[in-house]
Symmetry: C2
Subunit: 451 residues, 2 copies
């Protein structure tokens, strides 16, 4: 499509992008280069009027038509002809204030800022409703995988029973690489950084924060729950030991950073952490920076989604789909009828006490190689009413030793135990008691097991 500005058309939707980073440039490219496509799906022209940046002189890898680029947010907020603001600023502030101002100025919002929604979703959505505005946020979770629309519209005939997924591509890239190459955590993070899959400071990705924020958003949509992401028990893949990937593999599993939400007795079990997933299942085979989500509905059964969770064009695909839905009028309908992030309605599900979560567990210990050790450990498990599914004791080898440098000597060997189903509370208490045994050296590694 030509980038010549068409005559003013009342049925045209004018949009502005706030923040022209990687995703912003991708969105601009789709809107400018593929206007015919968006017009076909929206039934009207979607016109990029403004793109707001901090530094007008920074190269962005895209040629914008004259007059679009500006460093003034006010130019957008004060332009009554701009209908939709595409909010691609990161961080919480001033992103929150700008979003509120934009809505007060009569603009609908499309955003990819998941941290902002996880933190201030209640306030922003309540304010949007008061003002008769809408917020769309497909790009905030799982990038190109349209999980927001699928959970809130396509599966709307279902009570969602569970939702579990690989929601952080950086972590999955790192874990997959470690698994495939047998490499250590630190060196793999460097590879991920070199390839652009991990940021200079990947903390939020690898420590489970990012996945927990996404899980909180999905829990609103799927379960009508009001969840503070900080209340989701979470651990990350930071410091994952290659030995655990190897033992898991020998047992028939891969380790994935899994975010899980599951209805149990009307309460919502939530967790984020490295989890053993059985090989051969679709979830275990999700590699590289891909995301995947398995949703189980009471009518539809399991539906599995798999795609790119990040990156310029996959994320832009989600943003522009939202812009089209906004322009065509679907988003306002959806936004008004769904009750997500609604501060004034009671939550339909409350979060289950973490100690009550139930599952099977993988335990890796470093134990004294002498008689009575296994008896002491299995004794503790029995005390906590945890039964053992399998035990694998290996001879000491290099990796396991190097992972415990300074705490080990030749008399200690790795011991891997798979338990039958137990409560998180019992498993945590038993693990703590085991780690305190004289015959156990170093911290015990414990991960849940799925499938």
């Amino acid at each position: 499509m030509s980038s010549t500005r068409p005559d003013r058309d009342p049925s045209r939707t004018n949009v502005a992008i706030l923040g022209m980073g990687t995703v912003g440039a991708g969105v601009a490219r789709l809107l400018i280069d593929h206007g015919d496509r968006t017009a076909r799906h929206a039934g009207k022209t979607i016109w990029l009027s403004k793109a707001v940046v901090r530094d007008l002189n920074k190269p962005r890898g895209i040629d914008l038509p004259e007059g679009i680029l500006t460093d003034s947010i006010d130019e957008v907020l004060e332009d009554p002809e701009i209908d939709v603001v595409i909010q691609l600023m990161g961080g919480l502030s001033p992103a929150r204030e700008v979003m509120l101002r934009a809505m007060e100025a009569g603009k609908d919002i499309v955003t990819a800022n998941k941290a902002l929604l996880a933190e201030h979703g209640g306030e922003l959505f309540t304010r949007a409703r008061q003002l008769g505005r809408s917020i769309a946020f497909e790009a905030a979770v799982a990038g190109g995988v349209p999980i927001i629309a699928n959970v809130s519209q396509c599966l709307s005939a279902n009570q969602i029973l569970s939702l579990e997924g690989i929601l952080n591509g950086t972590s999955n890239f790192i874990v997959s690489q470690m698994d495939e190459k047998g490499a250590g955590y630190d060196e793999t993070v460097k590879v991920a950084q070199d390839l652009g899959y991990a940021e200079a400071d990947p903390a939020m990705d690898v420590d489970g924060t990012d996945a927990a924020q996404k899980l909180a958003i999905l829990s609103h949509l799927a379960f009508g729950a009001t969840v503070d992401w900080r209340d989701i028990p979470r651990s990350g893949i930071d410091g994952l030991d290659p030995a655990d990937l190897r033992y898991a593999s020998q047992l028939g599993y891969r380790i994935k950073l899994l975010a899980i939400a599951r209805l149990v007795d009307g309460e919502l079990e939530l967790s984020v952490g490295p989890t053993l997933v059985r090989k051969g299942t679709p979830m275990a085979e999700v590699r590289d920076a891909y995301n995947a989500i398995r949703v189980v509905g009471d009518a539809v059964g399991p539906v599995f989604y798999h795609g790119l969770g990040a990156g310029q064009m996959p994320t832009a695909s989600a943003v522009v789909a939202d812009v089209i839905d906004m322009a065509v009028g679907r988003t306002p309908i959806t936004f008004q009828t769904l009750e997500y992030f609604s501060e004034d309605r009671p939550a339909r599900a409350v979060q289950r006490d973490v100690a009550k979560l139930r599952g099977r567990y993988y335990l890796r210990l470093h134990v004294a190689n002498h008689p009575g050790t296994l008896a002491a450990i299995t004794g503790v498990l029995a005390e906590h009413k945890i039964s053992i599914a399998s035990v694998m004791q290996h001879e000491e080898h290099e990796d396991a030793a190097s992972a415990h440098k300074g705490t080990t000597n030749g008399d200690f060997v790795p011991l891997v135990i798979m338990t039958h189903e137990a409560s998180e509370g019992a498993a945590a208490a038993a693990t703590e008691a085991i780690a305190a045994l004289e015959s156990v050296d170093g911290t015990a590694v414990r991960m849940p097991v799925r499938g």
Copy 2:
């Protein structure tokens, strides 16, 4: 929710079901037992007013409130309070006439009748537009997997580049069972029939017709193409030889009934047939009666969907999602802005000549075990400019022999050839020429290879 009829509410949507078979009973169950759920998602009550059946006395496994069941279609068509007709009658006639009459009576349509859309989609959709009515048909393709909404809405920022899938659950069940158990085709069909995965006459499922009809519908949506399903080159899994599953497995592949649509140089390649899919890819691991679809968009990259393609509640899930979208007002918007099944607009992509399709091929021949045979065969391939990727010659064994009863003797052995990329035209001509060689016995088996 109570099934007591609420006071007349102008914001209520009244629906009627035509056809109370398995899916109809499932839809009624969701609407009656889960009215709170549908009301929450639609922002209004969705009320089942009538259910039309041929035989009022047939047991249906569901207790309908008094006054709902009727054997009169006119009672529905003449009731001005019924807004949406859920068309679950099978076959083409009178389903077509009833749908036209219902739209003329001012009712919107939700249907699962894929054959009707594949056959009369152009007429029905054009008429709906003339009358200002809408047709929703999520359940017509891939059952519970919401592929219609995903292709037409969620991925709307993309030019879809390709779409391939396992769209027929019956075929996939049969092929998976044959693969896992090493069983023959005929006995596996009987197992599928006993388990309810195949109808008494499974012809439309196993011969590729059903998948071709679904692919035609998806091609409208994804590519703006006007496709007559009869023009899609297709073959089925009927008569699939277990030997081919075994050889494919040895080569690292599984055989799946794959429906493929792919843009090549602006033209649309379409095909349905048994295809070798590389093991370890998500598509190869789709088992039992599951459906799966892999969509590649130019922005989003590959997105993979996997779920139950048939069955009472998965299909009902899709139907009720459509009813909610209709009630809430999303479907009318989508229907008016998208141009699918539009008789008066030019197709955006035309179907590519089948002879121009390109791909790699698997050939299985039964050849004379004497010098010169391989030279003759490879000579024919060379004449057609087809180069060979690998050759596998096995000693005669029981299965292969039994598959060629009456045409073989001890001097003939199976020969499997994998080619490099070639055109369908060249591959077909070469295969015909090879089958005519004196040293080749019986019909040559040829299948495309993916991944």
